[in-house]
Every structure is written in C-alpha cells, then in structure tokens.
Symmetry: D2
DNA sequence: TTTT
DNA sequence: TTTT
C-alpha cells in the first residue's frame, strides 16, 4: 500500500451531466469538464489556446447533487483520483479509458447565475436536500484504511 | 482562458525510464508510476488492493534527470497536468491516450538507496550537472501567460 | 534541497486588497481569503460552521492584477506556498506570522459579476494590460533550480 | 459553506514527534517538518537555500501511528488544512499560531531505513496494529457535510 | 510493471 | 462540448 493519486480540476462543463442508476439503485454521474491553457506563440506572436477535456465520474449522493445542480456551462472545482478502465471494443480489442473519480465537488457559480439560466431540475435524485438551495461543497466520506469497505464501484 | 488542471502522483516506477530524443535534439522521458489503494472487503473481511498505473512524460532537462537518476523501483513525487492525445490505430480508428505531463519532479529515494542498487548511469543526457550527486527536486520553468512561447511539444 | 510546500485555497476575499509598492517600485498585494467548513453537531443536531482566514501575498505583475480586478467578496483560486515570517512586537518579543505566498491566481467571478458591482479600478498598477478585460488566470514564472535568481522578496 | 483549504507538505521531521493524550484519552501528535527551496543568487552567483518549518498536528489513530513510526529525520508526505489558533501569552496579549491539521499521512522511508536507525518504539499508542510492520499510508475519515459530527478538536 |  |  503506497502512493498518492490526486487530481484537481477547475473548469466548466461542456454538456449537461449524464446520470445513470446502478443495479443497486445508486446514482452515477458523468461530467465532461474543460480546462485550457493559453500562451503567445513566439513565432507568429499570436495568442494560442489549447483545451483539455476531463471525464469525471461521481457516485451516490454526489452523483445526485451533480444531476440536480450542474448544467452545461457550470463552473466546478473537483478533487479526485485517476482511474484507467479497460474495456473491449466491438472488435474485441482491448481499449483503455482514463477518467477521474471525483471525491470532492465544489460548485462555483453564484446563486444568481444558477437561477438566471434555464435551470430545470430534471431528475429525482434529491434525497436529503429538499430545499431549493444548492449545497456548494460535498465531500465524499473517504476511506480510512481500517473502515473502508468494499462497495460496488466497478474497478 | 480558464481553469486548473493539476495532478499529484507519488509512487514507484514499474520499469526503467524510456528516453528518446526529439528531432530538435531535446530529450523526452516516459515513466510508468504505480499508486495503490487498499481496503478491507466487508463481505469477505479480506484486505484488497487495486493498483493504478500512471504514464508520465517529462521534457528537456527534466527528461535528462529522469534518465540519469531514476530506475525501476524508484520512488518519485510528480506534479503535472493531464493531457489526452488522439492517435490512430492500424485500422485508422481514433484512439485516445491520457498521460501526465510532468512539471515538478522530486526523487524520494535516499542517496544510500540510490547508490546501493545496480545503479548505472546509462545515457549521456547530463549537461549541467557534472557531479555525481543527484538533484532531488527539479521544477520546470512554468509559462507565465506573457512569456510562454510555443515549443515543439506535440499536443 | 528537498520537499514540497504547496497550498491550495479557494474562497472569497473578506476585504478589498491592500496594495503597496516596494522600494524598487514593484507592487505587493495582500488579500485575506475565507474558507469555511460546516458539519452537523451530533450532540445538538445543529449545523455548525467554522471559518478560516488566510493571508495571501502576491508580488509584481500578479499584485497589479490583484489590485485591478479583485474586491471584497471576490471569489478566487490560489496556489502558493507557506511562509512564516519572524518579526518583533513593540516589546521586542519575537512574533511569527504565517502567510501564503501566491504563485497561481485564478479569478472565479463571471465577468457580469465583476462589472455588476461598484467596480472602480482605484490604482495605477496596470502596466501590460491596457484593455478593460480581466485576465482570469495568471501563473507566476516559477524558478527552476538553475535559473531562479535572488530577488527582493524579503524572506 | 464554501471553499477549499488544502496543504501538501513533503519533507523531513526536524525532531521526534511530540505525543500527548487528550482528556478523553485520544492521542494528539505534533511534528515539525522542513521543506526547503534553493536557487542561485544572481548577484553573488552563489547557491542559496531557505528552509521553512511546518508545524503539523494529527489526532487519534493517525497520532498513534505518528508516535509509533516517525522519528527525527523521517521523510513524510502530508495532506492537511490550515488552521490558525488564537491564544494569549503571559501578558494577556492575543497571539496567533498557524498550523496544519493533518488529514493524510504517508511515510516515505523504506523499511530498511526505518529499521536501520536507532528505532525504538517508545510509547503505547498502538491499538489496532500489533504487528511490527508500519502502515505506509493512513487516510483519516473525512467528513461528509451530512455525517461529520462535532468532536473534541479545539478549533 | 512498482511498492508495502 | 465549456469558458475567457
């Protein structure tokens, strides 16, 4: 047992979240978040920018919050860990997808911005939060080496 | 321009570094670093562990240092950023590989450990460092938005 | 030479920035940023919250940007390093103050929010940026161990 | 509720840990960890180095692990959060001390290094771990906003 | 493929 | 696909 595997992403969602329900009834949310770097190209003296897209997955209560409060364009801060999944394409070839398993989610849009848009809660994942007020941070219970228990996360 | 794209990895190399030289003569180093998580499976009450492998790339002087001082088994701390490259397989299909572009490298093996092993500097990338003493941290000059200049990094 | 000393703060300014000019004409900006944690007190079943205040200092161009674009209430993401300064109080006793030396600054208010308020640029630190458009990220050139040069930072 | 307050320290202990027991019988450990930066002074062309000392506190089981396995000189990776405590000196004047409350601890010395030294477990804080084998990472259970409960941490 |  |  060793190591640190930590990712910090701050950026905007490129699309509405995709929400699924696992066999056991728990929610899974996938979001795609953009970060970008820009610099001046010394040859052309022009500003250049490159955008990186990050696929992030949240589980359970955090997935519910994602589904409730995030939309295309939302700005978020995410802490998580890298996870590479192996799968097979239609030809039976091994393929790999790297994504970020989210551990901490912080919404960064002001309340006014959230309510300005065409905000329409479109799912029923809200369980504990019956008010119309978004939590702005959720921290997943992390696993202590002594009390973490295997769950249904498929990795 | 927006966002934060940061990765922190602390783990051990699974293999010796792979060192290449770019067309312009600059060095590129690839390393594969393992991190692992472990927990107690509450169903079986057994300890379980999952290992994650991270592909990390360093350029220029940092690549040289990687080639000089790191070996299979070396423990390192790395700060970097995620970068997904698109490429085509032999069938012309789009494929994606996510790797970490290293910005900060800190070697964590004690000097005694470095010298205990079958340490054999096997390349000639050392330029500025003629002593036999490994630097233990290297921080790449980061690009200020005003002075970063396009270079030959292929992304 | 060894180690990692990194701080990540995301929060809101409690006051307008304090801007000073050093003897050599370079700008210094101090900001005070709040972060808070909240939880349910299991004894009283009430929500409790504790706020932590972080004193952060920026130099030179970043200090200018702070002075231009940040105000009381602004939300910021900051990466920096801890620095404890020793000083003497009026009784000649040693006193210590820990602050964060900012390396990366990311403004998180939307443009509309920035322009909505009683925004009044009140200083003349802007040098390179003559447009009215705020940069949203600034990354200070970091020092490579080989090319960092002593400057006038008093620590 | 808002914000991120995160510190990452990688360095060596300047002294053996100080271990105390709280009124409720739980352990508290204080360690002092050094990080250093070095650079070339462009005026004198000499190498300069500045060392920063970080006071870090761990509670409960992590405090026990600190007491068992860390010693002066040990190399550690710590993730935690900043916390400034107010207290009064003998003259009744307000004083402030900033320390890092540790959340994650990773020991970075190899087993051989740990056993090579004059290692003498000198306390009885070990509860769950009866083997002589050090865990190398411990992650404190973090508080979900819904399930964190007030404890006796004095802040 | 590492390490514990 | 976002944002600036």
């Amino acid at each position: 047992m060793a190591g640190v595997n930590k990712v910090i992403i701050l950026g905007n969602l490129g699309n509405d979240p995709e929400i699924r329900t696992m066999q056991n009834g728990e929610a899974v949310a996938n979001i795609s978040v953009a970060t970008s770097e820009s610099w001046i190209d010394k040859n052309t003296n022009e500003r250049r920018e490159v955008t990186e897209w990050h696929r992030i997955v949240f589980y359970r209560r955090q997935a519910e919050i994602v589904g409730e409060y995030l939309r295309k364009g939302s700005k978020v801060y995410v802490e998580g860990r890298l996870r590479t999944r192996k799968w097979q394409d239609q030809n039976g070839q091994d393929r790999y997808t790297t994504e970020i398993q989210g551990d901490v989610l912080q919404m960064l849009d002001s309340r006014s911005e959230r309510s300005m848009g065409d905000y329409q809660p479109s799912n029923n994942y809200s369980r504990a939060n019956t008010s119309n007020q978004a939590p702005t941070q959720t921290t997943k219970t992390q696993h202590d080496s002594t009390d973490f228990v295997g769950d249904d996360i498929p990795f």
